[in-house]
């Protein structure tokens, strides 16, 4: 396992913590924590095989969050000095004082064991920031050129986003953690333009972002080379595909598409802060209100959904969250019934849920930690069917691969998704792609219509770097594992008809 970067551990982390925490204690804080974060990122974009942009970034800063007379206070800065740490503690108390008139709920935190000098490094082999730039660009350019050379491909867009995240956390209770996580997100899109008719089609790789390093681009965890080799043919088939006839279809959904439906309709809906209304003015609330805990029928009995912050290569996987809570795994939906939420320490205490399950996260030192999504995953059936077996059970339906367009309402009922590829299924056989399809459903109807989940052999981990929530807006990386699954009688729209054409 790689070591935590010496550049980060060489910062005066302990001194900063002592300065901030001592000052917070002197000022009467009931709880105080100091976070120091360094976020390295690299974004590379290529168009038609040429580098359009390449940006290397590093943000570093520190923040004090505290509870003063029952009210939160938060202040963030950037100088790595003990003077700055003291100033931030004082400023956080000021923020708590200005905010006190609008606070009516006394903040208290659920208990958590103390972890002294704990460390965590995520599972990756090759630090993407250690790979020479020319080597990275050569590989990406080669991938793009191969696509460009294929028949029927007019343009190619490619992007690579690499992140290395270092966090130091220390609180008044005595916990102190130092962590390092690496993640990688490559994407390649082939475009076919029909100038005469004025149309165009795209086909994007479905290889997901992952908690892995540069090895991910060279065949570990996903075979991008093989996927890229198939892309032109898939694109060509799409350009020739007939338009879908709107109506009810049975769907077999591949993990590369189903993950996003899980994210939107289960992941967000079971965030306790949403159920409690903390996101009501922005990200929204949830139909899965707390009175439905242990009784709400979320879906069919084959539905078993877990939350975790421990899955290997998961984007939400951590050692300790941003409130010093150790990573865990728990049930969210069991036998189709809602049995759990994602929580942080304040909410866990407020709702008498015992220990927090460790979902506090801030996307930088400049932002306050809020409850963010765990890896929320649909579990496969122990000796469940293959994807082919699931397709074999469908008389007239669609096989859905790769995410594309997505939208869901603010209570997580009504959603609409499109896909990279919809294949028509007739009598248990794939008969080719169709286009212009979108599936639209209500969350509990959709999961209630899930007849079967595939076996472990169909299980894949997909996800995103960019889950958005909170004000000020924060991004969060998250993965969702799932098997292929079979849904009966789902409403399919024709998007050309929807556009009134």
């Amino acid at each position: 396992m790689p070591d935590i970067d010496a550049e980060f551990t060489a910062l005066p982390l302990r001194q900063l913590a002592d300065a901030a925490l001592n000052r917070s204690r002197e000022l009467g804080a009931e709880h105080a924590d100091l976070r120091v974060e360094r976020l390295r990122s690299q974004n590379v974009g290529l168009r038609d095989g040429r580098v359009e942009y390449s940006r290397d970034g590093e943000e570093i800063g520190l923040a004090v969050r505290l509870v003063h007379e029952g009210t939160w206070g938060f202040a963030a800065g950037m100088e790595m000095t003990t003077e700055e740490a003291v100033r931030l503690a004082e400023q956080a108390v000021d923020v708590a004082r200005v905010s006190a008139p609008v606070n009516t709920d006394r903040v208290e935190l659920a208990d958590e064991p103390v972890y002294g000098d704990a460390t965590y490094v995520s599972a990756y082999d090759v630090d993407p920031f250690g790979v020479p730039e020319p080597e990275k660009l050569a590989l990406l350019t080669d991938f793009c050129e191969r696509l460009m050379a294929a028949d029927g491909v007019d343009h190619v867009n490619a992007s690579l986003w690499s992140v290395k995240e270092n966090k130091f956390y220390a609180d008044l209770a005595g916990t102190s953690t130092t962590q390092q996580r690496v993640r990688t997100w490559p994407e390649f899109t082939a475009v076919a333009v029909d100038r005469a008719q004025g149309g165009f089609e795209t086909m994007r790789t479905i290889g997901p972002p992952a908690g892995r390093g540069w090895e991910y681009l060279t065949g570990v965890g996903w075979d991008f080379e093989a996927e890229l080799a198939e892309l032109p043919e898939l694109l060509a088939a799409r350009t020739k595909a007939p338009s879908i006839e709107a109506g009810r279809y049975d769907l077999v959904i591949h993990p590369s598409n189903l993950w996003l439906t899980i994210h939107e309709s289960i992941g967000h809906a079971t965030e306790l802060d949403r159920a409690l209304g903390y996101e009501a003015a922005y990200a929204g609330t949830s139909f899965a209100t707390v009175d439905g805990l242990n009784s709400l029928q979320y879906g069919s009995p084959v539905m078993h959904v877990t939350g975790d912050r421990v899955a290997e290569h998961g984007l939400s996987t951590i050692g300790y969250d941003d409130e010093g809570v150790a990573g865990q795994q728990w049930d969210i939906v069991r036998d189709g019934v809602l049995v759990g939420y994602q929580t942080d320490r304040n909410m866990a205490r407020l709702m008498n849920l015992g220990r927090s399950n460790g979902c506090a996260y801030a996307d930088s030192s400049g932002h306050v930690p809020v409850q963010r999504m765990a890896n929320v995953s649909l579990q496969p059936a122990a000796s469940g069917p293959s994807t082919e077996d699931l397709i074999g059970r469908v008389e007239r339906g669609l096989y859905v691969v790769g995410d594309k367009s997505w939208s869901i309402d603010m209570q997580r009922y009504n959603f609409q998704f499109t896909a990279q590829r919809f294949y028509l299924i007739e009598n248990g056989q794939l008969v080719g792609q169709v286009r212009d399809a979108a599936y639209q459903a209500t969350t509990t109807d959709f999961w209630g219509a899930m007849e079967a989940v595939g076996g472990p052999q169909t299980y894949e981990l997909h996800g995103s770097f960019q889950c958005g929530k909170a004000q000020p807006g924060q991004g969060a990386p998250v993965s969702h594992g799932c098997p292929s699954a079979l849904f009966r009688g789902i409403n399919i729209l024709n998007t050309v008809t929807e556009a009134g054409r």
Partner: protein, 463 residues
């Protein structure tokens, strides 16, 4: 990073960075940012903060190749490392496609030597007590208030090896107030954008929210379908901002957007709106002022690092209902023989003939829907710019010129380009806060639009 060192001023970073640079060309961009925010839910505070940050980007150009590196720089040592990292990146890169001589003159938009503009939590000193009072009043009538207030001050210092020194102070503020009935069955919204909070009237926002909740005392379930619909300014803003984001000349010329013309070329010159409206951006737009020059640390999406400092004057994207301009960096403009343009961070849609107020438009509606905001807007089909999304925080039925009931929410599927072509009335343009995009786009002025047949694709049970 040194442990203890004085924080360099932004101007010093620019000068020292350029002085250290050994590249053929160099751009140094400093953003000094302070922000303060309050967030509340269920009539009580949830989070808050006062934050300070600095981002420094150095763009080095060596043999036509670009190296762009950004860091939170505090010290001279940090800066030296940043410049060398940027130069190394440039040496390792292949020549850029968008190479142009760096800009040599620009419009100064602030005093170079002045310290950065700042904000603090004190900006809410009158807003916070007013909110506290509003929470008490809401509680007394079994209603809940949720929302967010934020003030951000960003000072940008831009310097180039061609002698440009440009500075701009950008204040951005917003307040969103969401009101719900105690059972959370009904929800409404009001929001404003502001530069300095002196013009924020919390009581007026509370009155707007209360009034809309009162409209919902009668509730009605209506099915999906096409309805005559009044889209208020905030909803129009979210749709037009999306249209603005896909207004890139190169993509259009390559046949890849809704603005591509069948047979090749773009739709510039084509009449796309049913009224002689203008859609424009103008850094000097009163109340919506924004930087009059381009500042970017990366190329892409219609923007080129070589254009840093390029003046961005008023630009009409649509004029007299006709598509006139698309976003075109200098290098592509040179190829296409058009005037270069850049994204400006404000957007105004208006009918120069004026237009009626939203209230007058309601009064002249026999039967139709009045929306409050749109949400979760995503592209379904880029060829037509078909977007999907939800109505949020208040859909109201208008009958005989009056609001008579609150109705359920809907999922819509519509293209903003088609809406411009189908609208049957354009109201008076006024400053508004885009609901969905206000994280990064707060400066807009839009009219209420009347759409004769807005496509409500399905009912959303959300409230």
């Amino acid at each position: 990073m040194s442990e203890i060192a004085p924080l360099l001023r932004g101007q010093e970073i620019v000068e020292r960075g350029l002085a250290i640079s050994r590249a053929d060309g160099c751009i140094v961009l400093v953003n000094d940012r302070t922000e303060a925010n309050l967030r509340w839910a269920n009539n009580s505070l949830t989070t808050n903060g006062a934050m300070r940050s600095r981002h420094v980007a150095v763009v080095s150009i060596i043999n036509d190749a670009v190296g762009s590196v950004g860091r939170s720089v505090s010290t001279v040592d940090d800066l030296a490392l940043l410049v060398s990292a940027s130069e190394r990146a440039a040496r390792e890169a292949s020549p850029a496609e968008d190479v142009m001589p760096l800009v040599e003159s620009g419009d100064a938009a602030g005093e170079w030597e002045a310290p950065p503009a700042e904000t603090s939590i004190g900006v809410f000193s009158s807003v916070a007590p007013a909110l506290g009072e509003a929470f008490g009043q809401a509680k007394a009538v079994d209603r809940l208030l949720f929302g967010f207030a934020e003030h951000v001050m960003t000072t940008t210092y831009l310097g180039t090896s061609t002698g440009l020194r440009l500075r701009y102070d950008q204040p951005s503020g917003r307040v969103e107030l969401n009101g719900k009935t105690g059972d959370r069955a009904r929800s409404v919204w009001a929001g404003v954008g502001t530069r300095d909070f002196t013009d924020v009237d919390v009581a007026a926002l509370v009155t707007e929210v209360s009034g809309k909740l009162d409209w919902g005392s009668r509730q009605l379930e209506l099915p999906a379908g096409r309805y005559e619909t009044l889209l208020p300014p905030t909803a129009v803003a979210d749709l037009m901002v999306y249209l603005y984001f896909v207004s890139e000349m190169r993509e259009a010329e390559q046949g890849r957007t809704v603005f591509s013309k069948r047979g090749g070329g773009t739709r510039i010159g084509e009449k796309i709106a049913s009224f002689p409206v203008n859609l424009r951006s103008d850094p000097q737009e009163p109340g919506l002022q924004t930087a009059p020059f381009l500042a970017t640390e990366v190329s892409g999406q219609g923007t080129s690092v070589f254009d840093n400092g390029m003046p961005t004057g008023r630009i009409d994207w649509i004029r007299d209902g006709e598509l006139r301009n698309l976003v075109t960096p200098r290098w592509w403009a040179a190829k296409s023989d058009v005037t270069p343009t850049a994204y400006v961070e404000n957007l105004v849609l208006e009918d120069p003939a004026g237009g009626r107020s939203t209230e007058e438009m309601i009064a002249s509606t026999e039967r139709g829907l009045l929306l409050t905001t749109l949400w979760y807007i995503r592209e379904v089909d880029p060829q037509t710019l078909l977007l999907t999304g939800l109505t949020r925080d208040g859909v109201f039925l208008i009958e005989g010129g009056e609001v008579t009931a609150a109705v359920n929410n809907y999922r819509f599927n519509e293209s903003p380009v088609d809406l411009l072509g189908r609208m049957t009335e354009v109201g008076q343009s006024k400053r508004t806060l885009p609901r969905e995009w206000n994280d990064f786009f707060t400066r807009a002025a839009m009219p209420t639009l009347r759409i004769p047949d807005f496509n409500m694709s399905s009912v959303s049970p959300a409230s």
